[in-house]
Symmetry: C2
Subunit: 580 residues, 2 copies
C-alpha cells in the first residue's frame, strides 16, 4: 500500500526559467497550435480533455516583456468553435485578440485557423484559457509566463523558479454540465472530484496516506511515468525560489501552503506587490501570484505543497505536490503531514490576507486618480427567470449575442444587442441579507458604454443567494485592464465607506474577490479602446449570466481582422457588400 | 413484476394521416426550429439528447408533393455548429439546402439562423437528420412524410397510417464516441445499448417478459406517461394500414416483423415498389419503407411489433411496440411472444429480400438507360493510417475540408481540396477475401467530377476488414439523387456480372446495402447540378472516412446563399471583396 514514486527522473519542472531565460530575447514568437479533444488522465481516471498539440494542459508560453506573440490557432474539434483568451494581457491596440467569443471575435470554425497577434507588454505571471461555452472547464488552458525585458531585473532575487497551474476537475463532461446548468430545474454540478496541479491530480487515493490523519483514502500507487504522477519541485538547500501560481479553476477558491516554509508574496496578476510573508495564501479563480520561499528547512527531509478548497464546504481532497530537497534520497516522501487548509468558512483568514495586498510602487505602477468620473454599482444576485436559475447583475442576467460586440459597436449595428444601457445601480432598499424578495430577473445583453479616458469606479455588491443564509464568493475578472482594488467591506456599501479606500498603494489586479455579504471597490481608467468582459470567473456562474460588458473608445479601434467578424451581423455585412 | 401500461390514452399515433391529410394543400410550409441539447430518456435512462423545439425526436413534418418547405433553423447549442440533411429529398435546384456540412454549406453558428428552403417534389417516406460530426447519433433526427399531391392517389389503398422511426442508442455521449473513434488505438463504440422506435426504447427490461422465453430481462414497469413508454399502434379489425418505417440508426441493420401479420412492401426511399409479401423485412440505416398490413388476426388479442439487429452479432435486445386491436380491453398485452428476428448472420435471408425489390413502373419511374458513360469501382476497405483505424474507398479515407465543396468548386478555389480526382478503380489483383496485405492508406478529400447529364455506374465492392474473416455490411447513401439498383453479387465483381443486371425494373433508391464479401451495382444520371456526398450511412464509418464526393454541373448551380458560404475560403472571398 506504499506510495511508489521515483523522485529523480521528473526533472522537467526544475529550474526551467534559469536556463531558458538566457536564450530569450525580445522578439516575435510564433506558435502553431491545434486544439482538439483527446484522452487524458487528469486525476488518474481516464477522461476526454481539451488539449493543444496533444498536450494537457496546453504548452507553457515563455516570453519577455515587449515580445509579440503570434499564435496560429487551428481548430481541430469536430463540430465546435473555439477561442483562447490571454488572461491578464491587456491587448493594448489589439482588442480583437482578447479571445472572448461573442465579445472580441467570432469563434474559430472547425478546420479553420485564427492568428492571435498581440504584445505582452508587462512582465508577470499569466495564463490562457478557452472562453467559449465551458471549454475552460474541459481543460483548455495553460500558462503564459512573461519575463522582464532583456537586461532588466525583477525587484527581487531568486535562484530558480517553478510554475503551478491550479484547476479543478469533474468526471462529468462539460457538454453535460452545460445542459445541467441550463436545465429547469437547474442541476448543480457539485464540488469538483479533484484538484489538479499542472493538470495532475489523484482521485480516490492520497499521496500522503502514510502521514496524513483521517483522510481515509488509501495510498496512491504509481508504477512510474503515469500522466497523473505528482508534481515534484526539485530544490537545492539554502536557495531562494520563485513559485508562480495561477488558478484557472472552474469553481474552487483555493489555498496554498508549503509545509514548514514561509512564503513571500511578491507579485499578483502581473503587478508587483509590497512584499509580505504568509504561511499560506488564498487564490481565487482568475488570479495569479508569485511567491518566494527559501529552502531553509531540514534538507534531509522533503515537504508537501498542499492546495485545498476555501469558501465552499469542501468535498474535494487537498491536492499535493512534493518539494524535494535534492540532498535527500530519491524515494523519500515527506515525513511531516501536509499543511492543513484553513477551515473553508474562516473568512477572516481570507479577508486578512486580501487586505494585506499592497502595490509596490515602482516605475510603471502608480496610485489611482483620487476621484472618479462615474461609479457603477453592481449587485450580484442569484435569480430565477421562468423557473431557470440564473445569476444576475443589477437584475440583468447576461446572454451573449451571436454577433461579437466589438464588431457590432464599431460598425454601428443597433440591432445586435440591447441598446439600452444596463442600470448603474440597484434599488436602494434592496436587502442583501436575505434571498431576493422577488427573485424574477430578466435576460439582457446591453453594454456599459464608458466615456473614453475617464476614471470608472465599480462597487461590486454581494448579496444573499436564493437560499437563506447563503452568500457565495465571486472572483470578478476584468478584460483589457488592470484595476486598483480600493477596498473591501462588510454589508451594503455606503457613501462613508469611501473614507476607507486605499488611494495610496492599492494593488493593481485584473481579478478580485467579493466576500459573502460584502462589497469590493475598484477603480480603473477606461483608456483601452475595445469591448471588454467583466465577469465572475466561476465558469458555471458566467454560464448562468454573471457578467457585464464594458465598451470604451471603440471609434479608436483600428482595423479589426475580417476573421474576427465572420459571424452574425458583421459577417453578413462583410459578405453583402459584395453585392453593392 | 407485471408490465403496467394503459393502452387507451396514447392516441397520438393513431390514424394521424387520415384527418391531417384533409387540411393539407400544396403550398409553402414554414417552420421555426431551434436545435438544442436537452435531457431526454430515450431508453428510460435519462440522457442528454439533441432536440428540436424541446422535442426528441424532432417534429414530424407532413407535407404534400410539390410543397415548398421553409425551415428557419436556429442553432441554440452553446459552442457547436449544426446542419440538417433532408434525407431522400433530391434538392433539385437547391443543392445548398442539402444540409451537409463541408459539402453543401457552412455549419450554422451558435445563435444564428439558416433558412432551408426546398421543394419536396415527390411523395414518399423521408426523414431528416444532423449531418455534422456525429450529431445524428446524438438524436438530431425526425420524420418527413410527403403525401401525394392534392387530388392524386397512391397506387394502393389503406385506411390509416402509422410511422416508425428506428434508431439505436448508446449511453456514452457522442462527443466521447468521436474521440474514441479518432483515438490511436481506435476504441470501438460497441453495439448500441438500446434500439428506439420513435425515440422510445426500454433499457434493461422487457415489455414481453411475460411471454418471451430466455430474454432474461425483468418486466418493464411503467406508471404511465413515461417518455419511454412503448409505442402503441391502435387499429380497428379488418382494415388495411400503411406503416411507414425509416431507419436513422448510427450502426445497426434491423429487421422488422409484426406478430401473425404479413407485410406488403409497397414503397422504398420514396419510390413505389412492385408489391410483394413478406413475414419480416430488413432495413438498413438510411432506408425507408412503406408496408401495408391487414388487421385480419384474432381481434381479441394484441400483437408485438418487433425490431432486432441483423448483420452484426447482436448485443442489443429487440425493440418492441404494440399493435393494439381496439376491440381488446385496454390493458391486455399480446399473449403470443414477439416474432424472433432472423439470425444475425443469416445473410441468405437478407439477400433474398433485397433481390425481391423491384420498381413499380408508374408515371415518374422509368427503367434505367441501358448503357453507362462511366463506371466507377469503389473498393470498401478498413485500413490503418499511422496507427489510426480508418475506412477507405479505393485506398483513400475521406477527410472533409473546412470550405464546403459546393462553394469552393463554384468559385474555383483550387486550394480548397485535392484537385486530383480519386481513383475510378482499384488494383485488379486485390484480394477481397483477406485483410488488406498493406493496410496503409491515405487521407484525401478529392472529388469525383461527373460530366453533367451522363450516366454513371458505381460498383460498390466489399472486402475483408482488418481482422481475418470479417466483412461488414455497409448501407451506402447518395445525396441529391435516386439510383437504380442493378444487382447484387458475391465475391469480386467481374465483367460478366453485367449480364445479371436488372435493366427492366430495378428499384430506384437513395440507399443500398453491400453484403459481406459482395458487390452491389447501381446506376444514376448525373443530372442534378451540385456537389453530393455518397457515403456509408453508418455514422462511425463515415466519421472514419468512408465516403466519396461527387460533383456535377456546378456551373449550372444558381446563386448560393451567402450564409451557406460564410466559412473557410468562400467566407474569406466574400469578406475580402469589400476591400477591392
Amino acid at each position: 500500500m506504499a506510495l511508489i514514486i521515483s523522485l529523480t527522473p521528473i526533472l522537467y519542472l526544475c529550474c526551467f526559467g534559469l536556463f531558458v531565460s538566457s536564450v530569450l530575447s525580445a522578439k516575435a514568437r510564433h506558435f502553431k497550435w491545434e486544439v482538439e479533444y483527446m484522452y487524458g488522465a487528469p486525476d488518474c481516471l481516464e477522461h476526454v480533455v481539451m488539449g493543444i498539440n496533444g498536450q494537457f494542459p496546453g504548452p507553457t508560453i515563455k516570453a519577455r516583456a515587449g515580445d509579440t506573440l503570434v499564435i496560429h490557432l487551428t481548430n481541430k474539434l469536430h463540430t465546435e468553435g473555439v477561442v483562447i483568451h490571454w488572461h491578464g494581457i491587456r491587448q493594448l491596440g489589439t482588442p480583437w485578440a482578447d479571445g472572448t467569443a461573442s465579445i472580441s471575435q467570432c469563434a474559430i470554425n472547425p478546420g479553420e485557423t485564427f492568428v492571435y497577434r498581440f504584445k505582452v507588454d508587462k512582465a508577470g505571471t499569466y495564463f490562457y484559457h478557452g472562453h467559449y461555452g465551458m471549454q475552460r472547464s474541459a481543460g483548455l488552458y495553460g500558462l503564459l509566463i512573461v519575463d522582464v525585458e532583456e537586461g532588466k531585473k525583477e525587484p527581487f532575487q531568486y535562484d530558480g523558479e517553478f510554475n503551478l497551474l491550479l484547476s479543478d476537475w469533474w468526471h462529468k463532461g462539460v457538454h453535460e454540465q452545460e445542459v445541467d446548468l441550463s436545465a429547469n430545474p437547474m442541476r448543480w454540478i457539485g464540488e469538483p472530484q479533484s484538484l489538479l496541479l499542472n493538470g495532475r491530480g489523484q482521485y480516490n487515493c492520497s499521496l500522503a496516506a502514510h502521514n496524513s490523519k483521517g483522510s481515509g483514502l488509501p495510498a496512491c500507487k504509481f508504477r512510474g511515468n503515469e500522466r497523473c504522477a505528482p508534481n515534484i519541485l526539485h530544490v537545492m538547500p539554502n536557495k531562494t525560489y520563485r513559485l508562480r501560481v495561477a488558478s484557472t479553476t472552474a469553481l474552487a477558491s483555493l489555498n496554498l501552503a508549503i509545509g514548514k516554509h514561509k512564503l513571500l508574496m511578491v507579485e499578483a496578476d502581473g503587478n508587483y506587490l509590497e512584499p509580505f510573508w504568509v504561511n499560506d495564501f488564498d487564490i481565487y479563480s482568475g488570479e495569479t501570484y508569485s511567491v518566494l520561499f527559501h529552502t531553509d528547512q531540514q534538507p534531509t527531509d522533503n515537504y508537501w505543497i498542499s492546495v485545498g478548497v476555501r469558501g465552499r464546504k469542501p468535498a474535494t481532497p487537498q491536492a499535493l505536490a512534493i518539494l524535494h530537497y535534492q540532498s535527500t534520497t530519491a524515494s523519500k516522501l515527506p515525513t511531516i503531514a501536509p499543511p492543513q487548509t484553513p477551515l473553508w468558512n474562516d473568512y477572516s483568514h481570507s479577508k486578512s490576507f486580501s487586505k494585506k495586498i499592497r502595490a509596490r510602487l515602482l516605475g510603471s505602477q502608480n496610485p489611482p486618480p483620487i476621484t472618479n468620473h462615474r461609479r457603477i454599482f453592481l449587485l450580484n444576485t442569484q435569480n430565477r427567470i421562468d423557473g431557470y436559475t440564473k445569476w444576475a447583475i443589477n437584475n440583468v442576467s447576461l446572454t451573449l449575442p451571436p454577433t461579437p460586440y466589438l464588431g457590432s459597436i464599431k460598425h454601428g449595428f443597433s440591432n445586435a444587442f440591447d441598446q439600452k444601457s444596463p442600470p448603474d445601480s440597484f434599488v436602494n432598499t434592496y436587502d442583501i441579507t436575505r434571498p431576493p424578495s422577488n427573485p424574477n430577473s430578466t435576460y439582457g445583453n446591453g453594454v456599459y458604454m464608458l466615456k473614453f479616458n475617464t476614471t470608472i469606479d465599480v462597487i461590486l455588491q454581494n448579496a444573499n443567494a436564493l437560499n437563506a443564509n447563503v452568500s457565495e464568493i465571486h472572483p470578478w475578472h476584468l478584460h483589457g485592464h488592470d484595476f486598483w482594488v480600493l477596498g473591501y467591506g462588510e454589508g451594503k456599501f455606503t457613501k462613508k465607506d469611501e473614507n476607507k479606500f486605499n488611494l495610496k498603494n492599492p494593488p493593481l489586479r485584473n481579478t478580485v474577490v467579493i466576500f459573502p455579504y460584502g462589497w469590493t471597490a475598484l477603480r480603473f481608467m477606461a483608456d483601452n479602446p475595445g469591448v471588454w468582459a467583466f465577469h465572475c470567473h466561476i465558469e458555471p456562474h458566467l454560464h448562468m449570466g454573471m457578467g457585464v460588458v464594458f465598451a470604451e473608445g471603440v471609434h479608436l479601434v483600428g482595423k479589426i481582422p475580417d476573421e474576427a467578424l465572420s459571424c452574425g451581423l458583421t459577417g453578413k455585412m462583410l459578405r453583402s457588400k459584395t453585392h453593392n
